[in-house]
Amino acid sequence: MIKVDNNDPRKKTVKVINIGLQPFYDEIVFQGVPALQLNWRPPVKQSKEVQDMLDMFL
């Protein structure tokens, strides 16, 4: 009798949340894998001058 290892990642259905570039998500979906694309980008790094103005006015 073959023992099934339920923890073997190869036996599991993969579900993906992609935080990276859109083409990674497109490629995963193309292969039939359920995936979500997270609409996220790293916070913008401002110069101190711009950041000071944004803090004052926004």
Partner: protein, 418 residues
């Protein structure tokens, strides 16, 4: 009230000028009467102010051609000498109540279409589409020939007086309902006006027929109406410009009121900062060319003021409305929807006049806020035609307004209100 609350209130006031605008195509008249401050021996150009000597060659050629059209010079050499000597003034169209679409060349005798915002009473003048055969012409692309000049005169003398009579009898044509219906039929109202062109023809068809003109006149006018590609673009730009002029001067507002490029520099204006320009090197467009023989080396950086429509929440901000223009730019529809959703992050409000089927009838974003552009790092996307350095359109695509313009604008805002 602290400064942040004042800005929020001012921005609501400014954006209401766009959302609540009531643009109406009211008539046609010579630019010398329609454009405030347009004097004899003066030529407007697109984008921020630039001296004749610093213009790209396409622009210089357009300037010389304008001198020929007005009869100020007998040949291009004389025109060049006059422009170099300052005997003919060159001014930015966006420093007046007009729009420098394409090359933005407007002189006193060119016929202009008048769009009046009946909510504010402010009028904007836009130059008309140059018919089916000469689209672009010297106003748009700076290209000139005796035939193009003759066509201008023919439109001015043999077509527009009749259309003007129809407009007076009809009481004008309301622009906003046509924009709204066009958005729902696949226009984004910058690079595509296919639906709007058909709607305005349908609206005016019986009014034209009922004018009881001789049949040859009716055929000529109907021919212009039905065969001029993107005729409605002129009215969309007029609507955008008149609304932006109403918003201009709103103290404390950080909303963008004008954008345009001259092939060298790109510039923006901000509601509370009046006619001050904030400029940076003009960006190139990304997109598709009409032929594989064209490359970026043939193209001009952003050239034209037609992106006033983006400042009023159309074009690049309305990408989701127009699946077919997604294809034109090499995008998929979902990317166009994402583009409109991205633009929401830099806009003050949504325009309830423009519900979009592809957004499940959510509304288009409107009112670009310079603070949000800088905070998010998201620059406004503009749709547009790609100009060949020698003239003519060689493709279409998108460009982003340079971030440097927004940094300079916020610095000037801080200088004024800190």
């Amino acid at each position: 009230m602290d400064i942040k609350e004042r800005i929020a209130q001012a921005n609501q006031e400014a954006v209401r000028h766009i959302i609540d605008s009531d643009p109406v195509w009211t008539g046609i008249m010579p630019a010398g009467e329609a454009v405030n401050g347009l004097e004899d021996r003066m030529i407007t150009h697109c984008g921020p102010p630039i001296a004749y000597k610093d213009m790209v060659e396409l622009h210089k050629r357009g300037m010389r051609n304008a001198c020929l059209f007005e009869g100020w010079a007998k040949d291009t050499e004389e025109a060049d000498a006059m422009l170099k000597a300052g005997d003919v003034k060159v001014v930015s169209a966006l420093d007046h109540n007009t729009v420098g679409a394409g090359a933005g060349i407007i002189t006193k005798s060119v016929a202009m279409w008048i769009v009046e915002d009946r909510a504010s009473g402010i009028r904007a003048a836009t130059f008309p589409a140059e018919g089916a055969k000469f689209q672009g012409g010297f106003n748009g692309w700076g290209i000139y020939s005796p035939e193009i000049a003759a066509n201008h005169r023919f439109m001015r003398e043999q077509i527009f007086p009749y259309i003007n009579d129809m407009l007076q009898k009809r009481g004008g044509v309301a622009v906003k309902p046509i924009l709204s219906e066009g958005f729902q039929m696949g226009d984004e109202n910058h690079t595509r006006q296919t639906a709007a062109d058909m709607i305005i023809l349908k609206q005016c068809c019986m009014d034209l027929i009922n004018m009881d003109w001789p049949s040859d006149v009716l055929k000529t006018v109907m021919g212009y109406f039905s065969q001029t590609p993107r005729m409605f673009h002129c009215l969309g730009q007029g609507a955008a410009r008149s609304a932006a002029l109403a918003a201009s001067g709103t103290e404390y507002s950080t909303m963008v009121t004008a954008m345009g490029g001259n092939g060298v520099e790109f510039g923006i204006k901000v509601a509370s900062l009046g006619d001050q320009w904030f400029t940076a090197p003009a960006p190139y467009l990304d997109g598709r060319y009409t032929s594989s023989r064209y490359t970026k080396a043939d193209a001009l950086p952003w050239f034209g003021d037609s992106c006033v429509v983006e400042a009023a929440g159309m074009g690049g901000l309305a990408a989701a409305a127009s699946p077919i223009t997604s294809l034109l730019r090499g995008d998929k529809l979902k990317e166009s929807i994402a583009q409109t959703r991205e633009m929401e992050k830099i806009c003050i409000d949504k325009n309830h006049n423009f519900p979009i089927p592809n957004l499940d009838f959510d509304f288009l974003p409107v009112g670009i806020d310079i603070r949000l552009v800088l905070k998010t790092g998201i620059s406004p996307v503009m749709h547009g035609g790609n100009f060949h350095k020698e003239g003519g359109m060689i493709g279409a695509g998108t460009a982003r307004a340079p971030m440097e313009c927004f940094r300079k604008a916020l610095a000037a805002f801080a200088e004024k209100y800190r």
